[in-house]
């Protein structure tokens, strides 16, 4: 779980800071209507009472609290909460709960709520796709490509997928993706009709981590337009016309870990 570094702190109370987080993330299963595992999380007293299995919050010890453990597990873990398809808590929400427990889980007294700083240890791959997923899907459909979430984690970004109809995707399409470009994390462009001109647009996809240009007409001139991609880690140039000049250019990419150039001049 990405943990945010502490930026600043502000005062909060259970009612102002903690209750809204619990209400938003937990109340469907641990509230007035349903109490899975006998646990209610809709009042300070109920949280401290715990579940059928015992205490879930150890005042003063966030790391030793079952509630905190469960929300910070890898989402794939069986014990991870929230369960089902519900998204994980945001780093800021986790910090609220962590600060409250660390402060002794006070019921009414104010405590210091840590707020995430600007720098986070593991920044999200992209902005939350949820508010814009419908827009992205509609745009993709119009353009004859697909934009699919990489995962259920809303900040994992989208994959630009073209394998069903690579011929649909050309430089025009890349330019028209501009409104949602910050959501694209992976671009699967193998066998498409994109050229160097299209790389102009791609060079502005600030959150792009991987791009596959296999079997496209892209040359070193196109690669020159990608050097702005600060987060690009993986670049597949198999069977393109990119030559040694282009491969020298990719050295400028600060995050690049892998580049493939099989079948190039």
């Amino acid at each position: 779980m990405a943990s945010a570094s502490r930026g600043w702190a502000e005062p909060g109370t259970f009612a102002d800071s903690v209750a809204p987080v619990l209400e938003h993330n937990c109340s469907k299963c641990h509230g007035a209507t349903k109490q899975k595992a006998g646990l209610r999380l809709d009042s300070n007293a109920a949280v401290l009472r715990g579940s059928d299995d015992g205490q879930v919050v150890k005042p003063g010890d966030a790391g030793g609290s079952e509630l905190f453990r469960r929300i910070t597990l890898p989402p794939a873990d069986d014990d991870f909460m929230p369960s089902g398809d519900r998204p994980p808590l945001s780093p800021a929400e986790i910090l609220v709960l962590e600060s409250w427990i660390a402060a002794g889980a006070p019921s009414t007294a104010a405590f210091e709520v840590a707020r995430p700083g600007l720098a986070v240890v593991e920044p999200p791959a992209a902005p939350d796709y949820r508010p814009r997923l419908a827009e992205a899907t509609a745009l993709a459909r119009t353009l004859g490509v697909r934009l699919v979430p990489r995962s259920r984690v809303p900040t994992d970004g989208l994959v630009l997928r073209t394998a069903s109809a690579p011929a649909n995707c050309d430089d025009e399409v890349l330019a028209k993706l501009a409104p949602i470009a910050d959501l694209i994390v992976e671009a699967e462009l193998a066998r498409t009709r994109v050229t160097d001109r299209g790389m102009e647009a791609v060079g502005r996809w600030a959150n792009l981590v991987s791009i596959d240009l296999t079997h496209t007409a892209v040359t070193s001139d196109g690669i020159a337009r990608l050097t702005t991609l600060a987060r690009l880690e993986s670049l597949n140039l198999t069977s393109t016309k990119v030559d040694s000049r282009g491969l020298a250019l990719v050295r400028k990419l600060p995050a690049l870990r892998e580049v493939w150039a099989f079948g190039t001049p």
């Binding site: 794939a76 069986d78 459909r141 995962s151 259920r152 984690v153 069903s164 493939w260």
Partner: protein
Amino acid sequence: MPGTPSDSAHHCSDHGGEHPTVLDLPYVPLSLKREWLEAETRRHFLARGSKALAWAGLATLLGRSAPHLLADTAALPDRRPLFAPKAKRAIYLFMAGAPSQFETWDYKPKLAGMFAQNLPESVRGGQVLTGMTASQAGLPIAPSFYKFAQQGKSGTWVSELFPWTGKVVDDICLIKSLYTEAINHEPAILTMTTGNMFPGKPSLGSWLAYGLGAINEELPTFVVMTSKIPIKENVQALSNRLWSSGFLSPEYSAVALRSGSEPVLYLQDPKGVGRDVRRSMIDGVNELNQQLFERVGDPEINTRISQYEMAFRMQTSVPELNDFSDEPASTWDLYGPKAKEPGTFAYNCLMARRLAERGVRFTQVFLRTWDNHTKLPAHIRVMCEDSDRPTYGLITDLKRRGMLDDTLVIWGGEFGRTVYSQGKLEADNYGRDHHPRCFSMWMCGAGTKPGMTYGETDDFSYNIVKDPVHVRDLHATILHQFGFNHNKLTFKFQGLDQKLTGVLPARVIREVLA
């Protein structure tokens, strides 16, 4: 809605003479009828919506005929993985018949000094043997006829039968401690492919197709190929039970590709039938199927509609797939000369790469006749000669094309073989019986730990002494690489949230993941 009373006088008191629907059937619980009715209403709304769109000339924009859209609205799982996956696709090289671990991956040097000694009772621990060796006078230890040497930076012990695979051993994650319950081929191979030794469960590839959907909608999501048999003796049967979708919708079953000029039979249009004629024929059939679906509400009808559509799309995607003329000369150097002969394991490995390249999620290549009860030294040499170079070729080819990062390659059979000889033991000839308590497999790519060896067996490769991995643990690990928690990829059937790994606890083997 069906059930609009007709004007003609109809004499039955309970309906107006229209076609029967689910609502008319006796013994159907009211709750189910209500569910069907709700789905039906929703579907009708969509049907009208899409027809209206078609009238507005927008259908072409959507790129699909209206019936297909409807098929897509059938209950689908949330196609997003739980977390960002390492693997986008997998190629499973299934060594059917169960290769002996002694000559391949589980080096047992101490056995050399125990030639023909009887297997100590303490090692066997009272295990019941198969009928094939239970009545033997003795259980003489048969050391491997083949030598081993350490290879690569990892220093993994590699058999001399794998001169090619040995070159890429640093890319491989070897697991020597797999085990299963089944001691005979059919239940064991079903366990391996579907997680359960009884037929009827969905296979691994079907679960992935169901959970993830297609990357390329022009090709099947799950493809199976069987290879020409290198040995004409003791051949095990394969059946489509191994790649069936079980209780999942049949559209998640594998498409079994044949080798040669026609990978899918009857895919070509008859002479004189153009693409447009074929399209309108399929539209007509879909329309009829749609009417039937509206009447009886059986979701299998939607499957049929989508299968017609898939066949139509494969009419253009498969010929391109099957045309190897775009392969560079270096391809044939990698996979070896046999890759030019359709149907060989080498050819299928190359085809598997082409499928992966085009976005097929899961390709399973079966190679049979590893079931060496007799003449093992001679036969296993033939098996390895047939498969070693193409296996190396596939890994190397994926790697140089940048595909090994997100393609998981899996190699292995359904169980192991016995340390003792089945039948007469000679210096250069012996056989080995089935052995479920331990066997070796390997994985490669897609976030598995390269150059690793995991798990240990005892000096007789009879029992696991460290880090056992059940088949369901392997399955959980594979699903994990695709972004799924094996406990959460489920399908409700017979009152249970069914899953690939079954009801016993399974564990993702995190130690083998990079």
